[in-house]
């Protein structure tokens, strides 16, 4: 099921970000992402990419501007509400993610219990395992997983509680061609089955697999970012 154009999932408008010494890093940054979209944030250097992701997941507060996430302005809400919102609506996989040193199932159960997802825990875990093709590796310890399996599990942990938005930082680049393809299929599956909005952040699209008919053409899903001219990187 693909959700066609619907509500705005992310709306970043006129965003300024200054360093602690008042130097501009991002200036008048704007972009948007609609519900059910799969987009690629690319062509940015590592620092700017991470800054934008840090802003989206509430780790950094902007100097000025607005970030609407699932209809709420995260700039104006308090830390506790922001934390709860992140817990409910946003799944995030950082670039250098760490996995618990447990079996695949136990990793997912750990998060389910930590978030008190007791209701339908098994259902959610099984659904996640199924959609990410991790069913056959359920008894593997994380250290025994392939690199693609590890990334899939990291994504599984991020989407276990069925958030509306998934943000992945630089997960594709480190994988082999085959692994990237498998991961893109898994993400496409999640996107279609759950109607999940996905933002993939990668340094460049050149190194990501292209040419599969049933995979989205990466140049078609590139996120369009507008930025003012007086930012340091503009």
């Amino acid at each position: 099921m693909v959700i066609s154009m619907a509500e705005r999932m992310v709306q970043v408008s006129e965003l300024d970000l200054f360093t602690t010494e008042d130097e501009p890093i991002l200036k008048k940054l704007s972009f948007s992402l609609d519900e059910g979209e799969l987009k690629l944030l690319t062509k940015l250097d590592k620092k700017r990419r991470k800054l934008i992701l840090g802003l989206l997941i509430g780790e950094i507060d902007p100097t000025a501007g607005q970030i609407l996430l699932v209809g709420r302005n995260v700039v104006r809400i308090g830390p506790e509400k922001k934390r709860l919102m992140l817990q409910e609506d946003v799944g995030f996989v950082p670039e250098d993610f760490s996995l618990p040193n447990r079996k695949v199932f136990d990793c997912l159960a750990f998060k389910a219990k930590a978030l008190d997802l007791s209701y339908e825990t098994e259902v959610k875990i099984n659904e996640t395992l199924e959609q990410l093709s991790l069913r056959t590796q359920v008894d593997y310890r994380t250290e025994d997983l392939t690199p693609t399996g590890r990334v899939k599990l990291a994504i599984g942990l991020a989407v276990l509680n069925r958030p509306k938005l998934l943000i992945c930082d630089h997960l594709l680049t480190g994988l082999e061609e085959d692994g990237r393809k498998k991961l893109l299929y898994a993400l496409k599956d999640l996107h279609q089955r759950r109607g999940l909005t996905i933002l993939l952040a990668e340094e460049g699209i050149g190194r990501i697999s292209e040419g599969e008919d049933d995979l989205p053409r990466l140049k078609d899903i590139e996120l369009e970012i507008k930025e003012g001219t007086d930012g340091r990187y503009s």
């Binding site: 991470k50 950094i60 934390r83 950082p94 760490s98 978030l115 942990l157």
Partner: protein, 296 residues
């Protein structure tokens, strides 16, 4: 709060495999036991002797046990009579209630249930004792010189006390260090779990409080074990006259209760201190990857 209890439960589940935690527990138990033992030998914690150099009554030679069937009036008459004796320089009446209240230690042959006279002889104490032994009002006579020689309170030499204190301090430091290492190890082993918790929006303070609480658990158990050992030793010592005479604090229940409370306060505090000292590594791991650093 549910996240806090869940994390604490998960951490406690790790105790089975965390040998460092168990070592720290054993060390703390030994440490608390040492400190407690040291305190047992402190003079101020021990009951006073009826008559020794550091006694309840100084400068007396003889203790007399008064016939328990005597009334107060009869005892008073006997007291007045003995005061008039030429061989008696001074005499004091110690009531049985006072002996019990002050937990005074008596020479072996005297009974703590009776009132006692303490007498200072003007001349030969031996002659005076013989005269008292012929008295019907007195059931038993004891020489306090003999008591001093035979059952003077056993004192630890100063150097042993110093070594005990230094050892206890070293044990305490080792315990804090071990707890700190344990907490850091958990943080290292839990990098994945901590990241899952962080990006799931779990409050970092809850995670840290759970870790600090966990660090207090093995030391609390250690302290409780030490208190238990003291009570067991106390029960054993009560039945052995020699031990209960030389280490009277062992059978003093209120003193043992005080030690227990002290242990149960100190135990968790030591653990919490170790946990707090290990918190820097937890912060480091919790903040990785750091986004705030990018704007500095």
């Amino acid at each position: 709060m549910k996240a806090f209890f869940f994390i604490l439960k998960e951490l406690l589940g790790q105790l089975r495999v965390k040998k460092a935690a168990f070592s720290s527990l054993a060390l703390l138990a030994a440490f608390v036991f040492l400190i407690s033992f040291y305190l047992l030998f402190l003079a101020r914690s021990q009951p006073a002797n009826l008559a020794t150099k550091e006694s309840f009554q100084k400068d007396v030679d003889i203790a007399l046990q008064i016939n328990p069937t005597f009334s107060d009036e009869e005892i008073n008459q006997v007291y007045l009579e003995y005061r008039r004796w030429e061989e008696v320089e001074n005499i004091n009446l110690i009531l049985a209630e006072e002996i019990e209240k002050r937990n005074l230690r008596l020479p072996g042959e005297l009974n703590a249930q009776s009132d006692i006279f303490l007498v200072k002889a003007k001349g030969s104490a031996q002659d005076l004792m013989k005269r008292f032994q012929a008295e019907g009002a007195v059931t038993k006579v004891a020489s306090l010189d003999k008591v001093i020689q035979e059952s003077g309170v056993f004192r630890l030499p100063g150097w042993i006390k110093s070594i005990s204190l230094i050892s206890a301090a070293l044990f305490a430091l080792a315990t804090v260090y071990l707890i700190q290492i344990t907490v850091k190890n958990i943080a290292e082993n839990w990098q994945g779990e901590l990241q899952v918790l962080r990006f799931s929006g779990v409050n970092g303070v809850l995670v840290k409080v759970a870790l600090v609480t966990y660090s207090g658990v093995p030391t609390t158990i250690g302290a409780a074990l030490a208190a238990l050992v003291l009570f067991l030793v106390s029960g054993w010592a009560t039945g052995l006259e020699e031990i209960s005479t030389s280490m009277p604090a062992l059978i003093n229940r209120s003193f043992l209760l005080m030690l227990t409370v002290w242990s149960l306060v100190l135990g968790p505090l030591l653990g919490l201190l170790g946990g707090i000292l290990g918190m820097d590594r937890i912060d480091e791991i919790w903040e990785t990857p750091s986004y705030k650093d990018l704007i500095e």
